[in-house]
Symmetry: D3
Subunit: 221 residues, 6 copies
């Protein structure tokens, strides 16, 4: 009944999408935990409601790493469509999708199609690791962000013992590889570079993303 009251004064919702997939020495749910932490922080400041996270995304290339669970892209798109239609029917018109996983980007196509079908629906999409603000932090500190390296090594995602040595980024022979090939290329699962950076840099990253999100939640057009 709280949601009904909320809708009397706001029509915004944050939806977190991500993945359950290998992240080297980080949590299998890294791609959920990061956007969820950002959503929580943003919600505290902006008072915007957060939907329960969809804990699975598209990660077919990592299926040889046990613990990875991958939805077909068609399934993922259907699920997000069902979620959006459910809340749209209740009055949510402005939805910020906080996406934590690159394999999910096909969702933008389905969301665009939905915008054509559901009058008044506005959608913002934020893929935090691709933000200009995050790139700026990385450039400032001269470190290269990538999957399962320092970029995602937040205190709430690290679950294993991080190696001390940097990892040489492997040669990647193709953009489309099956899961067996992917594992032979990536080994421990990290895409290479530093495994960890000082916490101050992680705080900078987080703060930069949070600022972006708070801006997007204004839904200026």
């Amino acid at each position: 009944m709280d949601v009904e009251n909320y809708l009397k004064q706001d029509d915004r919702l944050i939806l977190v999408t991500g993945a359950c997939e290998q992240h080297g020495y980080l949590s299998l749910l890294t791609d959920i935990r990061i956007p969820m932490a950002l959503a929580d922080a943003a919600s505290q400041q902006a008072g915007v409601l957060i939907a329960p996270p969809l804990n699975f995304g598209c990660s077919p290339y990592f299926l040889t790493y046990p613990g990875t669970i991958s939805l077909r892209l068609s399934t993922l798109m259907d699920a997000v469509e069902d979620i959006v239609r459910s809340v749209y029917g209740q009055g949510f018109k402005r939805i910020l999708v906080l996406n934590g996983h690159g394999g999910n980007s096909g969702l933008k196509i389905r969301l665009t199609e939905l915008c054509a079908q559901l009058p008044g629906l506005q959608v913002q999409w934020y893929a935090w690791w691709m933000a200009h603000s995050v790139e700026a932090v990385a450039i400032r500190h001269a470190i290269k962000p990538d999957h399962a390296n320092w970029l995602e090594a937040f205190p709430f995602t690290v679950v294993g013992e991080l190696p001390q040595e940097d990892k040489l980024p492997p040669y990647v022979p193709s953009d489309v590889m099956d899961a067996a090939k992917t594992r032979s290329v990536y080994g421990d699962g990290s895409f290479g570079g530093q495994y960890r950076v000082p916490q101050e840099i992680m705080d900078e990253i987080f703060a930069a993303c949070l600022a972006d999100i708070l801006h997007l939640l204004k839904f200026e057009s």
Copy 2:
């Protein structure tokens, strides 16, 4: 990498399905929280791995209650199929589905179809609120269990102020009603009866379910 080690000595997995739907004065995630609590307790005793919960189920009848998010049954079946195929490919052969929501029971059909396609796959299905052991507790205390009444009012699901008075179960004109009709029938969302019972009874319920689950995790056939 922990999952890889786990698979060397075990091939069991618990998958929690449920719903994000109105539960009167209880959490929108009641149907996830209860099976998840049971899964956690069972995992501590039996050491069986738990997959991240799928936070959404089939609740089209409650869509007029804001906060309810419903997947189409076809979407839900596809998502569970994708999850099962992902982990089956990694070596999980015995899966206990802890389902927290009645609208998801069509999943059993898809799971049966999967058993025919994936050699060696064994599936157990547990819908805790329909268990004989739960019925026995209810009969012993002469209380009638139902949606969003005392049956689901655990400490970790109550989020609102529970009414003191019992609710007279409403007349339900049809098994298939649209969401508007459903809301006019059910009002606050509870299906009626007592809103709360002493914690001892809730503990009995929980213990009964836990015992059932520990038995099912033996996958005796």
Copy 3:
């Protein structure tokens, strides 16, 4: 052209769903014949039109019994949706689904979704063997109803020589079993109990169901 005249004064339709599946010593079409017989009787009294039956349902667990034909649940839901949309477009607004088969219950989800999309559509769902009135007859005679036992042994469903001896209900290790396992559990296909009861009891069952159906055809809300 008769249907066009019918629609000038009535907007009700009976749709029979069921299964083509093993029933031990009973017809493969038992789950169609019973609701169809009930529909015929109800139609004679209430003058409501009956659509041709959909002769197949969801029975993946019985596919090792030759003669069983199973639709995927997604196919079944699509077929019923197409049927409902076809007749709705012609003016049928009140539809009673007489379902003869437990594996089809996922249909209720799709029907609920359709009610949200097709204004004015009312659906009643009747699964005769689960009716309180049938339970009452069984309790009165202290006999336990189940799949392919006396409960379904009407004169128009019996096709084989019924055993004289009762069958001890087998131990069922799981709610979700593949078809091979199901056959090893159930053997001749009956779920156990008495194979036959006196015809008077069958008449009671039939009469109880018919009364229920005639009531539902009033579509009181």
Copy 4:
């Protein structure tokens, strides 16, 4: 259990597909009744098993005629696929599809795809009204066969009072018309020509089809 015995000595099955659609003064189930009558006659002579008919086909163009029920072609293909897979898994390898309805011809594509996936599966397709043998009868008697004219006016399909006068075949402006346009073009539903011919001619038609079917049931390749 009879089917199991049958499979020990035969692996052929007849599957009847058709439609529930307007046929002017003939039964809505004309497209089922005719192939079913042929199947029955063939079965008596050749001893081949018949599956229950799928009572619905693709008739979107006739939906403005009340009583017509149309499946989407995708639904119909899925249903037939599910039927074929069900019986194939039990040992049926040679399937004769007796199709009674032109709108279903897309099924041949799906059946061909299935033949590539199910080793040893042989399918014959018979659309009786398009047979050379039927054409020969029509030419011999100088009468033009068409939908809902004499061609389908068997004793078991006529349900209304057939007009005495022939109908002038209407001008058909397009192969693809919506249902409203189709009705304005066809009026009473017949495509024109004679409504009835002497029973001897109908017997010739039936005998010609039966001979074809008995030949096809030999599955010579």
Copy 5:
């Protein structure tokens, strides 16, 4: 921007469907090239816009001939639906589908369904090789038209050395054969008859089709 101007004075579009499949000594794209050539000629005279061709159709029976690419019928129907919806939303209301391939005829069902959903949409369907006017040419010259024989041997489709000798049409045991069987029946891919006729006859065929198309483009109803 040219299309926007076009739509100010016309709402017609030609859509070419066909196949990429073996045609004996003719191009794999024969079924695209012929309707595309007809579309170009018609467009020059009638000024109607042509959409880019959909280069693939349903040809599962020819998949053993390398170079054949077949879409599932469900995929093809979805693609054509997406195309029609795209252009309908922009103002195209009259669409002539120039189909070059027999395996695509299930498309007519989907197009009919679309006509019921998209108000004002008019569709014409032209399968050139089945036209009465083409049949008339063939009869006049006493030659039998068929797949990959003279009928399709236009200067812009012939890519191989055509045999001098006629081919005896093979015995075709079934309407539904898998691709291996199909190849064993048809050998070089032609369905038999003459491989080539004088260019004057081909010109007659082309002119007859063009006249038909120009008539259909008037969308008289």
Copy 6:
């Protein structure tokens, strides 16, 4: 029959995907023409076969620009899957997808899933405008590449009069906008920057892409 000979000595195929969508003053088929030109050039040097292009892609955001035709992403994925399965069954094992359109990138997920299902299949994906080599050319000349600006203005794509003045890149309020919003943001369709650069630079771009493609065609892993 040429394809059969080809397969005796090679198992590579180039598949061109793209879009039919507005490109400002460039051809609606720009995203097909560019990769097709590259494919032709590569084929001449490396002798690799090219499949007919799939002329449509995912462009829902441009549907308000007449002439844009968009497939749903699910349709596009199904079509590419059907194409890959068709040719894989004939012996093509190494497929280079030359993609010309950003909205199609979800295809990589489906292709990865296919690699897991089709043993021995190798896929390379090349999105020319995102190549490092193209970026290097742009940086060298200090020009920013973008949709429908100079980057795509090849002699074979320019169909309108290109403006002399550069376009100021518009403010883009969201990554997910409906088609009406997209048009109001982008106006003439170009994403901004220079409309044209000297042909030498275009030649550099083309040469860089061609070199990349020739390398990828080696399928080194």
